[in-house]
C-alpha cells in the first residue's frame, strides 16, 4: 500500500516587500486527511493557505498537486483556465466570512447550483434537486431555498458556504477559520457537520485556525506556525498533549479550560 500525497509544498515562501509572510514551508497532505495549521494572528498561516490554494503567488518554492488522472503537477505551470477548472471542481475554499465565499444577492439554491453549473450541469430540475439535497445535508430548511443569504444567520450562512463548496465533491478543501466569529453553540453544530461530511466524503482538508479545540476535534495532523515558519509538526493529539517547542507550550497552556 503506497499512498501518494495529494498536495506537496516545498521550500514555500512569500515576502511582502521586506516583511516575511511565510518562509521555507514544506508539507504534504494525503487523500482523506485533515491537516490543521495553527498559530497566532500574524504567524503566517493565512498567507500559507493563500499560497497553497494559488491565490497568492509564492516568492520562493512551489506547490504541486495530484490531478485526478494521477499526475503530479506544479501548480505554477498550470494555465489560468486549468487552474480555474481545478478550483471549481476539485477544490473548495470555505472562508471565515461567509460573505466572501457566497454570492449574497443570489438565492441559497442558486449559491449551491452555481457550482454545479460551473462544472457543466445544465438541467434545471436536477440542479435544484441536488441543491435541495445539499441544503438538507447542512440542515437548512427546504423552504429557504429561494431566500438569499442576507436573511440568514451567521451559522446558516456558514453552512450554506459549506454546501456550496462540497456539492461538486471536491477532493481538497481549504478552510480559513471556518468557525471564527460564531457563537459556541453554533460552532459546535458546524464542527459536528464538518466532521461528519469530511469523514463520509473522504475529503482532504487544510484548515487554518487559531482555536486549538477546533484543531483537536477536526484534524489528524497539525502544523504550528510562528513568525512565518513551521516550528512544530506531528499528530494533533501529540502536539497538543506533549508540545515540544517553547512557543507551542505557551499556546497550549494559554487555552482556557471550560
Amino acid at each position: 500500500m503506497t499512498e501518494q500525497p495529494l498536495l506537496i509544498a516545498e521550500t514555500l515562501g512569500k515576502n511582502y516587500g521586506a516583511r516575511i509572510g511565510c518562509r521555507d514551508v514544506a508539507l504534504e497532505v494525503y487523500p482523506g486527511e485533515v491537516l490543521a495549521v495553527v498559530g497566532e494572528s500574524g504567524s503566517g498561516k493565512s498567507t500559507l493557505l493563500g499560497l497553497l490554494s494559488t491565490e497568492l503567488e509564492p516568492s520562493a518554492g512551489r506547490v504541486s498537486y495530484r490531478l485526478r488522472d494521477g499526475s503530479l503537477r506544479d501548480l505554477a505551470t498550470l494555465g489560468a483556465a486549468e487552474r480555474r477548472l481545478l478550483m471549481r471542481t476539485d477544490w473548495g475554499f470555505v472562508r471565515q466570512n461567509p460573505a466572501d465565499g457566497l454570492r449574497m444577492a443570489v438565492s441559497a439554491g442558486g449559491n449551491v447550483g452555481e457550482r454545479l453549473m460551473a462544472v457543466g450541469r445544465r438541467h434545471y430540475g436536477d440542479i435544484r434537486t441536488e441543491a435541495l439535497d445539499w441544503l438538507g445535508r447542512v440542515e437548512i430548511a427546504a423552504d429557504r431555498i429561494d431566500d438569499d443569504p442576507r436573511s440568514f444567520s451567521g451559522g446558516m450562512r456558514q453552512r450554506l458556504q459549506i454546501a456550496r463548496n462540497l456539492v461538486t465533491r471536491p477532493r481538497l478543501v481549504f478552510m480559513d477559520e471556518p468557525t471564527g466569529g460564531l457563537d459556541v453553540s453554533v460552532q459546535a453544530r458546524l464542527l459536528d457537520l464538518v466532521r461528519s461530511l469530511v469523514s463520509e466524503m473522504g475529503l482532504a482538508v487544510i484548515i487554518v485556525t487559531h482555536d486549538l479545540a477546533v484543531a483537536r476535534l477536526l484534524s489528524h495532523r497539525m502544523v504550528v506556525m510562528r513568525q512565518g515558519r513551521v516550528i512544530e509538526t506531528g499528530l494533533t493529539d501529540q502536539v497538543l498533549d506533549d508540545p515540544r517547542e517553547p512557543y507551542t507550550q505557551l499556546l497550549v497552556s494559554s487555552v482556557l479550560a471550560a
Binding site: 453544530r189 464542527l191 466532521r195 489528524h220 499528530l235 498533549d241 507550550q249 505557551l250 497552556s253
Partner: protein, 273 residues
Amino acid sequence: MTTTDNASHPASLAVEEREPEERMASASRSEVAPQGQMRGEGALLAVSSLSKTFVLHLREGARLPVVSGAAFELYPGECVALGGPSGAGKSSLLKMIYGNYRVDAGAILVRDGDETVDVASAAPRRLIRLRAGTIGYVSQFLRVIPRVSALDVVAEPLVGDGVPREEATRRAADLLARLNLPERLWGLPPATFSGGEQQRVNIARGLIAFRPLLLMDEPTASLDAANRAVVIGLIEEKKRAGVGILGIFHDAEVREAVCGRVIDVTEFGRQMA
C-alpha cells in the same frame, strides 16, 4: 451474522466473530515468526531502554523525568498491570506506547500484522494507521464531542473499520446494555453524563472493535461493583480472543481478577541508577 457478511469486513473484524481457538490458530499461521522460536519473537509489544523527560519551557526549562529505562514485553492473550505509586510514570508510559507522548530514547516495537512498527520513531501517518487497526486505548476520561450521541461515540471505531452503520449501532447498543447504561441516555451526547456513565461509554468505545493490543488507564475508577464485574468479564473475553492488554488498575479486586503479572515501573529507574 452470515459468512458472506464476514467476507465483506476487514479481516480483523471477521476474526473476532470466530471462536478464540480458531483465531489463535489462524494468527499463528499468519505471523512472521513461526511457533517454537524464542519467546520474544511472539511478543505483541516490546519496549526497550525507553526514556522520556518533559522540558517545561515556561518554567525556565525545568526538566521533569517521567520514564527512564523502561523495558518489558507483552504477549497475546495476557493482561499485564503497570504497578507503582501515583506519579511513577504509568500513564505517561501508556501514552508513549499509544504515540500520544513523544519519546526521547528507546524503542516501542508493536506487531502490526506482518510488520513491526517502532512507535518511538514512526511517522505520524503510520501511527494513525496503527491506531486505526492495531492499538486500542481506553483513557481515564471521555473526550466529549459536541452533539454526538453516546451510541454514535461507541459505534464510531466499528464504522471506521468498515462495518455497516446499522450493525455497528446494534453492537454499540448491545455493549452499552451490558454495561448497564440506561437506554434513555443512548441518544444523548455524553457531556452531561455522570463520571461513571461517561466512563462506561468510554470503555464501550475502547472495547467494541477488535484491536490486538489494548491499553487501559484505570478503566474501572468510577464504577460500582456490578459494573466492575462487567468490565472484568469484557477483559476476560478480550484475553480469550488473543488480545494483549497493558493497563493501570488501581482497584486491587479488578487487578487480581484479570492480570497475570504486574510490572513495577519504579524498578526501571532503579535498574538505570
